[in-house]
Amino acid sequence: MIELHGVTKVVRSGAGELTILHPLTLTIEAGRTAAITGPSGSGKSTLLGLIAGLDAPTSGRIVVDNVTLTRLDEEKLARLRGSRIGIVFQFFHLIPSLTALENVMVPLELADRPDARTRAESLLADVHLSDRGHHYPSQLSGGEQQRVAIARALANNPAVLLADEPTGNLDSATGRQVIEILLDVNKRKGTTLVLVTHDPALAAMADVTIRLRDGRIEEADGSRRGGERGSGAPASDEARRGAGDPAV
């Protein structure tokens, strides 16, 4: 479960203060998929970064999987990300000096898992990349890189999987493949999935859609509007069906 209570983000820029997120209260139930949409500069990525513990809110409280992020220091946040939060980026962000397999192994090694190599191999098999494990990122296509990134994000069976425009840098067919994998993980393992996307079709597949504009929630489809206590509501049957339909 992801909870945000009165979360704001204000940055100091040259001219003065700029409010990126206005007070925001939001709950995403465990096992759900949520899509965050909105125009450029609406605060989507900032919101995702806050949930990932990559940045600290100016005020408010964030709880992910029963851990209050806002109380943790940088090192504890890193450990939390390693064990409970998986992140997939638009630009993949694989470590260029490591092979695909080694990229997947890193979070397992950080968690001191003795079976790092075998588990990484099976994760790569899950994303159909068994035969590309020894390739470096520069030798992989965009879709392949993103699949490696997903395998890496799932390495430690995170409770929460965050994806920042995961298909933004891919052609539509490859993008669809990636989406299938993400939704499949959600369905099979009950991993809470939060997507930031521009793509209305993709957003429609989520249980919940949170539309941001100028740092405020404009509309929370399937959930109650933010501002007071809110919780994610079950998404429509159409959206769920759509998730399994590659034609959407």
């Binding site: 990559l54 940045d55 450990r79 962000h93 694989l94 968690a111």
Partner: protein
């Protein structure tokens, strides 16, 4: 484990980019290991041969003829003890070939020995036969090869020593304790002691050293015997020493030399460290994203820092080990003629030098890498989502300051360890910090000075200057290191130019260029007559006596015994004279010079040189002198300053008022302006020693040539250091270009897309490095001019002239080298097709 695995993976992927890191460490370590190994080899050899060099277990020596009572005391002491002893006398004199058709005459160092000589060590002869005293019997001598060459004679020919003929029986190739490299007045000639005594060479005023060598049955007795003999002799001018003291002395001197010279290596390692710092800095900039990813995946700051510190340590260790190989190669590559100067022969690598070198390389490079590595702490994983947060200007927090302090303290500690002295390390660190600061400020000023060129009309110039200020530029680091290298080389060239200039000036002016010494009173008129008409102007004869200070009764200083005098630094023998005028090279500092001789019954007056005055002696003090066995008390009435660089007109620490010495035994020295033509010069020397065999002629021109040779050797040594420093600078330059290659590829691609031709891009790069090189050259030349001024005028106290041509050549050469290196390192940027670069980004 995670850290080690990451180190391996990272190194596997990026080792090529870190090659410069590796080379920087290797060169510095190589320098330390080579220097230490050479000196340790020499030390082991010399200490091992200490007794052979010393020639005895115990030795009594004096620089004045033995007093009969001293000889008696020594003989009494040694007789009845289980020892052997023998006497040696060394003196210098002139020799010439017996044959009249050879007009040469040469100064030699005579060593007169008895049958027991040598107790230790071996005299090696060119003929291969063992040395025997019989070779010296019946008018035989053994000489060095170069004397035969100088005189144009061979083995079996005869030479004239003090008017007597001697037959050259063999050529000595090696004498224990006498190195080819040692400065000597002349070639060695071995002669029988009895034969020397029959020559008229040890008479009054001659300079000779007298030694009694003692060999004991059990060498552990040496120190005790030495002390007992010292007590028994009770002659204040006799020194009794034992070989173990010499051994300890050699050991200590060389250990100190090793430590101080290792500082040269340390400085090179620090230059390498600067390279390490710059490579690490750029490397870390390129690693920002990977580090953010690692942090995003849950790696702690400590794990990330640990990974890169371990990686740098691994590379440093590898670089250090290659440095040992470099040193091995360097030792093997020393040319034969230089090896011949080392008593140890070709030096081997020593374990202790290798271990120290690798350890210093590791410590220094990790310390230097630490500063940029600590910046990984500031990398936020958020930058993966928002690129604008990549590198926020970060305040230097206390951790950063503490790390700088630790790095500085660490470097000082390594320097102190290397120098074996905290003081020396603080000087070196202070010097480095000072030079670094000055170069840093100067490079800021220079970079600012060319900034107006960013509005230049020429495209290439405009963009080249903009490039110098591009983010992540290495301009200052390159200026610092290349400037430092140029500075070393130019400074020593500058000092050398001034030194050689000074000497050649003195050779061309109207000063005397030949000294005649040991002229006896009855030879004064004869020598004068012989020289007149052949020399350029009449000879100037100065009466001289040899004296020792034996006591001082003064306001500030009171020295009762000779031992006190020696401790004051006044213990040596002085050559003194008397006259009633100042010479051209003298200036009166205090007091007044007397007029005329000392009145009957009056106290003698003495004028002292300011060097003596600096030891606490002033006007009005009374000094006691031992002059040829007679004690004279004199009152100090004036203090003179002598310009020693003009000392060919004579320079004396003590000048007496005439009077008391009219009947005293004295000799004369003559200052002669000898003819310039070598043949006439040689003939004059030959005729002089034919008529006056005891007189020696010292040819200043030859001595100056020797000194010029020494200056050139020292210059060569320092130039090598400068070349290594400049080499480090070049490496850093190449490293800087290579490290920023991706950015340059990208920029070049954009310029090309916008229509820039290869020629234009090349011009841009050329101007950029041309400007950089010129700035570095200006820095180096400016520093060199300042340093050479300081060294020449303050340290050497000589006239200084700016050697403009050296500075100009230096600036041009530095600019050219940097331009070439920069251009060739950028070649691939200039030829790569733009699309690949743009896609790659």
């Amino acid at each position: 484990m995670f850290i080690l695995r990451m180190v391996w993976r990272e190194t596997r992927a990026v080792w090529r980019r870190l090659l410069f890191f590796y080379i920087c460490v290797a060169i510095g370590v190589g320098a330390i290991v080579a220097i230490r190994s050479i000196i340790q080899n020499v030390r082991v050899t010399l200490v091992g041969e200490a007794r052979a060099i010393f020639g005895a277990d115990v030795m009594a020596s004096t620089s004045r003829p033995w007093r009969p009572e001293t000889v008696q005391a020594i003989e009494q002491f040694l007789q009845g003890r289980p020892v052997q002893y023998t006497s040696v006398v060394e003196t210098s004199t002139m020799v010439r070939p017996e044959r009249e058709d050879r007009p040469a005459a040469r100064m030699v160092e005579l060593k007169a020995v008895e049958p027991g000589f040598p107790f230790y060590g071996r005299i090696e002869l060119e003929s291969g036969q063992p040395y025997r005293h019989a070779l010296l019997a019946d008018g035989g001598v053994v000489v060095q090869r170069d004397l035969l060459l100088q005189l144009g004679i061979g083995v079996g020919d005869r030479i004239m020593i003090a008017g007597q003929p001697f037959t050259v029986r063999d050529v000595v190739t090696r004498e224990p304790g006498r190195q080819v490299s040692t400065f000597t007045l002349g070639s060695r000639v071995f002669i029988d002691l009895q034969a020397l005594r029959q020559l008229n060479l040890l008479g009054f005023g001659s300079r000779a050293s007298y030694r009694t060598l003692v060999k004991v049955a059990d060498d552990t007795d040496a120190p005790r015997l030495s002390r007992a003999l010292g007590r028994a002799v009770r002659d204040e001018f006799v020194q009794v020493r034992h070989y173990r003291g010499t051994e300890a002395g050699i050991n200590e001197d060389l250990a100190r030399a090793e430590d101080y010279l290792s500082l040269v290596g340390f400085v090179i390692v620090v230059l390498g460290g600067i390279g390490v710092w710059s490579v690490t800095r750029v490397f870390m900039q390129q690693k920002i994203r990977s580090i953010a990813i690692l942090k995003c995946l849950g790696a702690s700051g400590r794990q990330v820092l640990g990974t890169y510190v371990a990686q740098m340590a691994l590379l440093s260790a590898a670089g250090g080990l290659s440095g040992v190989l470099v040193a091995y190669g360097a030792l093997a590559a020393i040319p034969e003629y230089l090896v011949a100067l080392l008593p140890s022969g070709r030096p081997d690598l020593t374990l202790s030098a290798s271990v120290q070198g690798v350890a210093v390389g590791l410590l220094v490079s990790v310390l230097f890498a630490l500063v940029p590595l600590l910046e990984t702490r500031a990398i936020k994983p958020l930058l993966l989502l928002r690129a604008d947060t990549a590198m926020q200007a970060r305040r230097r927090d206390w951790v950063a300051w503490a790390s700088y302090a630790i790095v500085a303290a660490g470097l000082a500690a390594v320097a102190a360890w290397q120098a074996g002295s905290l003081e020396a390390s603080l000087y070196v660190m202070g010097g480095l910090a000072g030079v670094g600061l000055v170069l840093h400020l100067a490079s800021s000023v220079l970079v600012r000075a060319v900034r107006p060129l960013t509005r230049a009309r020429a495209f290439a110039v405009r963009h080249a200057v903009i490039s110098l200020g591009r983010p992540g530029n290495q301009t200052r680091v390159v200026l610092l290191t290349v400037g430092l290298g140029a500075f070393f080389i130019l400074a020593i060239q500058h000092v050398q130019a001034n030194l050689l200039n000074a000497f050649s000036l003195e050779l061309s002016d109207d000063s005397p260029d030949m000294f005649l010494i040991d002229i006896q009173r009855d030879q004064e008129a004869g020598v004068r007559a012989l020289v007149d008409g052949r020399a350029i102007e009449p000879a100037k004869l100065i009466p001289v006596m040899r004296a020792r200070v034996v006591g001082v009764a003064g306001r500030d200083v009171n020295l009762e015994a000779y031992d006190d005098v020696r401790r004051r630094g006044l213990g040596r023998e002085y050559v003194i004279t008397y006259r009633s005028h100042l010479e051209a090279n003298e200036v009166m500092q205090a007091g007044e010079l007397w007029e005329g001789p000392v009145p009957d019954g009056g106290t003698p007056d003495v004028s002292i040189e300011e060097g003596i005055a600096r030891r606490g002696i002033g006007i009005g003090d009374r000094m006691r002198f031992d002059i040829a066995g007679r004690e004279i008390e004199a009152r100090v009435t004036s203090i003179r300053e002598v310009d020693w660089s003009e000392a060919r007109n004579g320079g004396f620490m003590f000048v007496f008022r005439p009077g008391p010495f009219e009947d005293a035994p004295r000799t004369f020295i003559a200052l002669v302006r000898a003819p310039r033509e070598p043949a006439a010069r040689a003939a004059l020397q030959r005729d002089l020693i034919t008529s006056y065999p005891n007189v020696s002629a010292i040819d200043i021109r030859e001595i100056i040539r020797t000194i010029q040779g020494v200056v050139q050797n020292i210059t060569l040594a320092i130039t090598i250091v400068g070349v290594i420093a400049l080499g480090s600078g070049m490496l850093i330059l190449i490293g800087a270009v290579a490290m920023t290659r991706f950015q340059r590829h990208y920029e070049a691609a954009i310029y090309r897309t916008l229509g820039a031709s290869t020629r234009r891009l090349t011009a841009m790069v050329a101007v950029e490095y041309g400007v950089l090189g010129t700035l570095a050259g200006l820095l180096g030349a400016g520093g060199a001019v300042a340093l050479s001024w300081a060294v020449t005028t303050r340290l050497l106290e000589m006239a200084w002239e700016p050697a403009i041509h050296i500075a100009a050549i230096g600036v041009a050469a530095t600019a050219a080298v940097v331009l070439m290196v920069g251009l060739s390192a950028s070649l691939d940027v200039l030829v790569k097709k733009p699309l690949g670069s743009l896609r790659g980004e």
